[in-house]
């Protein structure tokens, strides 16, 4: 399977993050792991680019975050743990619906023989 990278993900990353958080609260690296796992290794994302998307979602109120209280034996800085808000659950449902429609329309066009 060909790699799917940043440019192709534009516009979909935020819905994908919401989907990853549907499985439960997670920190940034865990969200990336969930996305990679769900993408069967084809998803190639520069890890730093996850954070602007997380901050945009947080500003929009679709996710919320809390600092972990302790570093649990790890060395270094604290992590932020993100979770879906009620508005995020609605945004995810809407995003899925839009994606289904997109796939249906574009799929119909691309699948049609010349």
């Amino acid at each position: 399977m060909a790699d799917i990278s940043g440019d192709q993900l534009r516009g979909h990353l935020e819905t994908m993050i919401l989907s990853a958080l549907e499985r439960g609260e997670a920190h940034g690296l865990e969200i990336l792991r969930r996305l990679e796992e769900a993408g069967c290794g084809a998803l190639k994302l520069k890890e730093g680019s996850l954070y602007p998307a997380l901050y945009r979602l947080e500003n929009a109120g679709t996710i919320a975050a809390e600092w972990e209280e302790e570093t649990k034996g790890r060395r270094g800085a604290r992590r932020r743990i993100y979770h879906l808000t009620r508005s995020g659950t609605k945004a995810l449902a809407k995003g899925r619906e839009e994606w289904q429609q997109f796939v249906q329309v574009v799929g119909g066009i691309l699948a049609a023989p010349a």
């Binding site: 920190h27 940034g28 690296l29 520069k46 890890e47 730093g48 680019s49 954070y51 602007p52 998307a53 901050y55 945009r56 500003n59 790890r74 060395r75 270094g76 800085a77 604290r78 992590r79 932020r80």
Partner: protein, 248 residues
């Protein structure tokens, strides 16, 4: 992970965060979160190879910090501009106390000047303004500038005594409090001296209470000012390209 590696990870973070036009609290939170991410990735990579290779892989996985800075900037809410402005006026960690005091005085003078001008125009045309009125306004401006300068100097003195002295000197704190309170009381009483050519002593209790309230505010702000200064000292020393700035 050794100190050199940690510093390199911090540099990576700082390249993405320093150019942002965001509040210092937001920047600090981004630094901490990105650093937590990078250290976790590095530790994951270091399990399978040597530290140099792990660092290279971590950097590659993270992506270009300059590009990241641009996308992070777009995620900064517009309200941060106001927070940033007020932070620069009060804390401005990289600047000297003198510079901060001057900035504060200019801002206070501009705000008070605008208010006094409105009040003067409400009284009549400029030709109708009496010398006493102008002297009174001048005294108010001088008093406000003194209070703004005193605020920065006293806040810095309180911060130093509380956090930078080997032991908190109660004598120094008492001297700062008494001196500061008298200074504020004097600044409040100054306009009445100009207007009536004698001090209106009936204002003294209120002036002393106002001075005490300002000092209480400084004690409240001192830990925050100290934390910002420590954070600034930790991150500002990193060798990051200073020329890089984002405007937008």
């Amino acid at each position: 992970m050794n100190e050199a590696t940690l510093t390199q990870l911090k540099v990576l973070v700082e390249r993405a965060v320093r150019p942002l036009q965001a509040s210092s609290q937001r920047k600090q939170e981004m630094r901490e979160e990105l650093l937590a991410h990078l250290t976790a990735v590095f530790e994951e990579e270091a399990k399978t190879g040597d530290e140099a290779a792990a660092l290279a892989r971590t950097t590659q996985r993270f992506g270009d910090p300059v590009e990241l800075a641009y996308t992070l900037e777009q995620a900064v809410p517009a309200t941060d501009a106001l927070t940033r402005w007020s932070e620069n006026l009060i804390f401005a960690p990289g600047k000297s106390t003198f510079t901060r005091a001057c900035r504060g005085a200019v801002a206070v003078l501009l705000a008070t000047g605008a208010f006094l001008l409105l009040a003067l125009f409400d009284c009549g045309r400029p030709s109708e303004w009496s010398p006493t009125m102008l002297q009174f306004c001048g005294a108010i401006l001088a008093g406000m500038a003194t209070m703004a300068i005193a605020f920065h100097v006293l806040l810095d003195l309180i911060r130093r005594v509380l956090f930078e002295s080997n032991r908190r000197s109660k004598l120094k704190l008492a001297a700062i409090c008494i001196g500061g309170d008298l200074l504020y009381a004097g600044a409040i009483l100054l306009p009445s001296l100009v207007l009536e050519e004698s001090i209106r002593w009936s204002l003294l209790p209120a002036a002393i209470v106002f001075g005490a309230a300002m000092l209480a505010l400084m004690f409240y702000l001192a830990p925050s000012a100290n934390r910002r200064l420590q954070q600034f000292r930790e991150w500002a020393v990193l060798p990051v390209d200073q020329g890089m700035r984002i405007h937008g």
